[in-house]
């Protein structure tokens, strides 16, 4: 009897499978804008790539959990290679805290493994539902940027697989140029098949938390200065109120508790946003009411408490599909960093522009980046003030505002974050990231993304709604 063979993902699905009858694309980014038809193929084994490309000339893009907001994880009419089936843990050394894993493992899965063993992520984004590969490809950052830098600073090495089958071990010493191009390289340099991550020891799930109300950017900067030695800091900001309440917010600080406590696993989230909210649900009145309630949620101007790490790091992960709150049209995020020179002035000017527009939502974050340089050629962080805000998509309003805000960011010497972007113009991108042409030489010829096509397009095409 001949050997039987049913290999996983051994061939690409027929093109007819591109869009299902319902018209819903098979893969959406977290902002659910833009929506593109593409084919989704699962990678289960490291050997699936590039074997799966055999005979195909279509462009591909490796993707993970689709938690980036715009189009860095989309490829119009191309093939998305989803890595989440490649989620094996290959090694863990409790002496050094270094974990080796396939790139499709999520940070949630790493935490599930590491926390009961007394280890934690060196850098935590706002959601744990991202893959290790995605975290490297976007060189993500967390609330401890001043102390820890960005994610890539904690990656000793990884393997990069090119579409021609070449496998490159990348570290600061081996293939250093590929290492620096791939960290923050938006998945364009090849497939990260596995990677190492240096975890840090903890003795408790708990976070010693403090929340402090502030009014205005000056008070924010004073607090930042006063608590500069605290590991995690981040602020929620009210972007709707004007006048006396302009730029009010809550400054949140946290440190891992040093009191040993039981290190259990987290439970699964129970809530899910059931369906798309209607387009009118988020309006100036509802957002402003939410902001007032949220600001006064803490009864006193200054509170201290011991909090679990889940609500501290991942408050929104407790509601699955919360992006449905923005309705069918989706949302776009605007996230900038402005270096210290223009940081305060630029932030005040941009916040005024946003408050006057009346388009802001309540999910706004303000924090500062420290001096530890990121390792990626295309990494986003710079020392200065970072701000992020979600906008619902309103025809004729949101995108003109985003273009103005992008130009203001450029004027103040800042840049926007590709992982959150659906709107920056080619001119803006190329000014934000002057190294982009050098980076382009490292792009895999078979790999591209809708983001890359958009921001390197010189014909002047604009996103439309």
């Amino acid at each position: 009897m001949p050997a039987s063979t049913v290999e996983s993902a051994a061939s690409l699905p027929p093109a007819a499978a591109a869009v299902r009858p319902s018209g819903k694309p098979p893969f959406e980014s977290w902002g659910r804008y833009p929506k593109y038809s593409s084919r989704l193929v699962q990678l289960h084994w490291q050997s699936d790539f590039p074997a799966i490309l055999a005979g195909s000339h279509e462009h591909v893009l490796p993707v993970g959990m689709g938690r980036s907001y715009g189009d860095v994880c989309l490829l119009k009419d191309g093939i998305l290679l989803q890595t989440t089936g490649m989620n094996r843990l290959l090694d863990f050394d409790p002496q050094t805290g270094v974990i080796t894993a396939e790139s499709g493992v999520t940070l949630a899965q790493i935490l599930e493994f590491a926390v009961p063993r007394g280890f934690f992520l060196p850098v935590s984004p706002g959601t744990k539902y991202v893959t290790l590969g995605g975290a490297i490809a976007n060189d993500i950052h967390g609330k401890n940027h001043e102390a820890a830098g960005s994610f890539g600073n904690h990656v000793p090495c990884f393997e990069l697989v090119r579409s021609d089958g070449k496998r490159l071990l990348c570290s600061p010493r081996d293939n250093p140029e590929w290492f620096h191009a791939t960290i923050g390289g938006m998945g364009l340099t090849g497939l990260i098949s596995w990677a190492q991550l240096r975890l840090k020891p903890i003795v408790s799930r708990g976070i010693d938390y403090e929340g402090i109300q502030f009014h205005g950017i000056d008070e924010f900067l004073d607090l930042k200065q006063r608590y500069k030695d605290v590991e995690y800091t981040v602020s929620w900001l009210d972007c709707v109120s004007t006048g006396r309440n302009f730029a009010r917010g809550i400054f949140m600080l946290g440190e891992h508790s040093r009191v040993p406590a039981e290190l259990t696993r987290s439970s699964e989230p129970r809530l899910r946003f059931p369906a798309n909210a209607p387009g009118f649900a988020l309006n100036r009145t509802s957002v402003s009411a939410f902001n007032t309630v949220y600001f006064h949620k803490q009864r006193k101007p200054h509170v201290r408490l011991l909090q679990d790490y889940e609500p501290f790091f991942y408050p929104l992960d407790s509601v699955l599909h919360w992006n449905r709150m923005y309705g069918r049209n989706g949302l776009v995020q605007f996230q900038y960093v402005i270096p210290w020179d223009g940081a305060k002035e630029g932030t005040i000017a941009i916040l005024r522009e946003i408050a006057n527009s009346g388009l802001a939502s309540f999910l706004a974050v303000l924090k500062t980046f420290g001096d530890i340089p990121s390792l990626g050629m295309m990494s986003f962080p710079l020392p200065g003030i970072m701000f992020a805000l979600d906008f619902p998509i309103k025809a004729g309003l949101t995108f003109p505002l985003l273009e103005r805000l992008g130009d203001m960011t450029l004027d103040y010497g800042g840049r926007l974050y590709p992982a959150k972007d659906a709107a920056m113009t080619p001119h803006q991108f190329q000014s934000f990231y002057p190294d982009w042409e050098r980076f382009a030489r490292f792009r895999d010829p078979m790999i591209t993304s809708s983001f890359w096509e958009r921001v390197t397009d010189t014909t002047g095409a604009r996103p439309t709604v």
Binding site: A3, S4, V6, P26, H44, Q46, S47, F113
Partner: protein
């Protein structure tokens, strides 16, 4: 299930790893010695992850050496007290006895065997090409019968053990969309029922696992596959069923009433349906 506790022969000095002894004091589950055939199949791998995190001792058999190596590394990392491996094409029934005795020696015993290898096959091709139809039946039915014959006799001799075998809801009734796969699984289900009837009274549990469609590499790209059951949830149900030593389990459990309904449709109607 803890065979070693009743073993009159004391274990030779140094044969028990210190970690193993430490774990053994925590829970009876940890000492479990588990043989997994078709260990790189999506369902088997997910089940093994749970067993590994409980500190089980595992012996894994699969055909592809690279895939087997990463699965073994993963299970070792997740906490398996021991992971042994063997590369084998389970279609080759001649080698089964040698393979199984090597596996059982390597584990120094066996409490549970999970049979998870199988192929979906290509229904359209099997309708035209008998060789392909025979291949499906060989891999999914003949080879498991060969393995189970050896394993059943091994367990009967020791009057202990649990044989967990992946059959399928597809074996509950033949449908035009996959009746070759379905008939191989129907045969397997019938074989398991007979085997259970023979050896349950000898202290050996024979467990028939009937998964509905599950999101794994085997079903990737199938129509509607994004709605298939989550493999980790299915795996948890299988682990629970093994702990409870049940005879037959549908995973997810919703498939039990669905398949009852499917079996209840009169043939004169069923034959006209497009299923």
């Amino acid at each position: 299930m803890t065979l070693s506790a009743f073993d009159p022969q004391p274990a030779p000095a140094g044969s028990v790893h210190p970690v193993q002894r430490h774990n053994a004091s925590l829970s009876a589950k940890v000492t479990r010695k588990i043989l997994v055939l078709g260990a790189t199949s999506g369902i088997a791998e997910a089940v093994c992850r749970i067993w590994a995190s409980q500190g089980a001792q595992l012996f894994l058999v699969a055909r592809n050496p690279e895939k087997l190596a990463v699965v073994a590394a993963d299970l070792k990392t997740r906490g398996a007290a021991y992971v042994g491996t063997a590369v084998a094409d389970l279609d080759d029934t001649e080698k089964h006895a040698e393979l199984l005795s090597h596996a059982v020696n390597s584990l120094t015993g066996m409490d549970v065997a999970l049979l998870a290898h199988g192929i979906l096959g290509d229904q359209a091709r099997a309708e035209q090409d008998f060789q392909h139809a025979a291949q499906i039946l060989h891999t999914n039915l003949v080879a498991p019968i060969s393995l189970l014959t050896w394993l059943a006799n091994y367990c009967v001799q020791r009057r202990a053990g649990l044989l967990a075998v992946l059959s399928s809801v597809a074996g509950d009734r033949g449908r035009k969309s996959n009746y070759l796969y379905g008939s191989s699984k129907a045969g397997l289900t019938a074989f398991l029922a007979g085997l259970r009837n023979r050896i349950d009274r000898e202290g050996v549990t024979v467990m028939t696992i009937k998964p509905g469609p599950v999101k794994t590499a085997m079903t990737a790209g199938m129509r509607g596959s994004e709605k298939f059951a989550d493999v980790d949830k299915v795996a948890q149900s299988i682990v629970t069923a093994v702990d409870k030593r049940v005879d037959t389990v549908y995973v997810p459990f919703q498939w039990a009433p669905i398949m009852w309904a499917v079996r209840s449709i009169p043939e004169r109607i069923f034959k006209k349906l497009n299923l």
